[in-house]
């Protein structure tokens, strides 16, 4: 299984436009524009009053059916930083609170963003997050990322072995917790009574974000855009794929799972454009087959005259995962001396297709072309 790319919204949000820029070396702290922080943001050719410092939280909020991003910004206006809540329509990624955010009315306060990070949805459609100023994992408010009043919490630092996590998915129904600090996803059970770390999953790379899907599954995205699905109850890996077109300039990836539409949403944090414009994007994926490339057919039996030769190729996704079910067609190029016994072949679970070619009794050189038709997403 892979991830079918549905659509991308790029850019998914905007910064407040200054409307003009100041030639280098840029504006003074005190000058004609008044008090101006982070003057480089409006030093030509840049002309926006905001820029992303870091993305604190990214999650699906089922109550409002929205994708939420809490972003800490560098700003030219007082006090030089801002924290805004960006809300996106979960259906199409449209920026729902554009006017509010550009009017700086989606302010959530610094403490939620500073102390609460990597929030994700969990049991009972609530939002849970690890904390920077304490070792607890708490239920938080989706609006402000502040701890919910009388909300649920656990403290893995009091468990055996003592643990401090940066990412966690909470399954209160089954008393399970899957949490990670960097390379390892720790799976805990009986977290309501006597917590026991019953298993671990080693991650394929440094973790960027963790997202809850269900009582069994969670999603992982690594710093290079590899997406994995894990069953944290067994535990085992279920799927591995990647974002489409992972680019070297992507700063970070964030992932969440839309439980209503059963699909993955990725927030790709990208550097600002030359003029300072925001280039972050939302990407929507459906967990299913997505063909990325068809490998070259390679003979896997002896190439003797008169032999029947088997050739194998693979239809794979962006992370090398096998793609099925597809039919791959084979065709010999002109000057055929032998015979292609298998004109088409269906992909197996690992994406493999095999073709049989009957070689003539004399030495020859032949070329097999493969073709597969993949529907457009």
């Amino acid at each position: 299984m892979g991830l079918w790319h549905l659509n991308t919204v790029a850019p998914c949000l905007e910064y407040i436009d200054q409307g003009s820029c100041v030639p280098p070396p840029g504006p003074a702290l005190w000058g004609p524009l008044g008090l101006t922080y982070n003057g480089e943001l409006i030093t030509c050719p840049k002309h926006y009053r905001q820029s992303t410092n870091w993305v604190a939280n990214f999650f699906y909020e089922p109550g409002n059916d929205r994708i939420i991003a809490h972003i800490v910004l560098n700003t030219t206006y007082w006090p030089g930083w801002d924290v805004q809540r960006y809300e996106f329509n979960a259906e199409d990624g449209a920026w729902s609170n554009r006017e509010e955010a550009l009017a700086r009315q989606a302010w959530i306060g610094i403490w939620g963003a500073a102390y609460t990070q990597k929030a994700t949805m969990g049991s009972f459609n609530k939002i849970y997050a690890c904390r920077n100023n304490e070792t607890k994992i708490r239920e938080v408010m989706w609006e402000y990322a502040e701890p919910a009043t009388n909300g649920w919490w656990v403290d893995p630092y009091t468990w055996n072995p003592k643990s401090i996590y940066g990412y966690a998915v909470v399954n209160r129904i089954d008393n399970l917790l899957a949490a990670a600090a960097n390379w390892t996803l720790d799976c805990w059970r009986t977290i309501g009574s006597t917590p026991e770390r019953f298993a671990q999953l080693r991650l394929p790379n440094v973790l960027n974000y963790l997202a809850y899907e269900s009582r069994n599954y969670c999603w992982v995205i690594t710093q290079d855009g590899v997406i994995c699905k894990a069953d944290y109850q067994i535990p085992r890996w279920e799927m591995m794929s990647t974002v489409q077109n992972p680019e070297a300039d992507a700063l970070k990836y964030f992932i969440t799972y839309d439980t209503k539409r059963k699909r993955v949403v990725v927030f790709r944090q990208r550097p600002d454009a030359a003029d300072g414009a925001c280039q972050h994007q939302l990407e929507f994926y459906y967990p299913m087959v997505a063909a990325g490339q068809l490998t070259q057919p390679v003979p896997v039996t002896s190439l003797k005259a008169g032999n029947r030769v088997i050739l194998a190729a693979h239809l794979i996704g962006d992370a090398g995962e096998g793609v099925t079910p597809y039919t791959v067609e084979g065709e010999m190029e002109e000057l055929v001396e032998g015979r292609l016994v298998t004109p088409f072949s269906g992909t197996e679970l690992n994406g493999r297709v095999c073709f049989q070619y009957q070689a003539p009794e004399e030495a020859c050189t032949e070329t097999l072309k493969l073709k597969v038709t993949v529907e457009e997403s």
Binding site: W183, T184, A199, Q200, L201, R202, L203, P204, N205, V206, T222, D224, V226, C228, P235, R236, W237, E238, M239, M240, T242, Q293, T295, Q296, P297, V298, P299, V300, T301, S302, L303, K304, A305, I310, A312, A313, H314, I316, D318, A319, G320, G322, E348, L349, N350, G351, R352, A363
Partner: protein, 315 residues
Amino acid sequence: MYEKLFESTKLAQPIQSGDSWQHLCYVSTWDAFLAQSGGEWSRVFRDGARVKFGKPSGSYAMLGRVKGFPAYWSQWTFKVHPAFEINGLPNPNEVLNPNWNIGYSLGPSSSSGKFIDDVNQVYLHQPSANRIDIYSLEDGRKVGEIVHNAGEYFAGIAWVQPGQVAGLCRTNGKVRIMDYLSSPRVLEIGRLDPFKVAAYDAAFHLFFAIGTDHKARVYCREAWPAVLSAPVFEPASIRGLKGNLVKARLTGQDGEPCPGWWVHWELADAGGGLRGCLDNYVTKTDEAGWAKSRYFGPDDNQPGPCKIKARVELS
């Protein structure tokens, strides 16, 4: 030398400059190869296509495992862990050697491959460049050895089929197929081009190697002919008006037999014209590499010189 079926034009090399492959293993669920370098996990396909999906961590060293999946030895715990089928990553929740810790001196490295058969509870270790020792996983006792005389440590020991492994030498390219279970010994010898990493493809019984030039190469388990012996009669004395068995042997670089090749027989003038005839002018080599035909002397039953030529067309 094994018959080379394919050489890629794609270069399968790690992304980071200075990085190089350390281990390679065939993963049957992918029908592709898991390659590990200092900074990269990748899937590599037979045509040299390479897809990076991660970065190694936790100081796990890969080794061969029964059924062809990789296993991982932890230098911190001396335990060997299996791999997840989906992504080939180490599964620290399972231990394949619960009763015996495999210490530093016995653990795998990128230059000396090891192999674990947790089904039959044995572990293969290389104490020298010419021998493999077989240990019991139950108590760490040495239970046998295989003297292979490859003259170089196997960079990888890969599963071939139940009870058999392939040892692969990186520099001299030597290959030894060995029985490690029923009667430990070398079953087959062969050779590949020198490589960086190599593995045995248990699905099609191939060798897959990534060379120092980063090209992927696929070899089948049939020796590529190097020597065709001069035809000899058996028995050596020839009798006229009778079918005299004549045979020639086709062998590889290291003397390994080349079965299934067509040998073309030809009578040549040795000074007295073409004398006699052959019953077959094209015959196939048998399992031992011998091709056989029969020579019939001339009808006049007079002695005279005669020359028989044998040749093989390689391409």
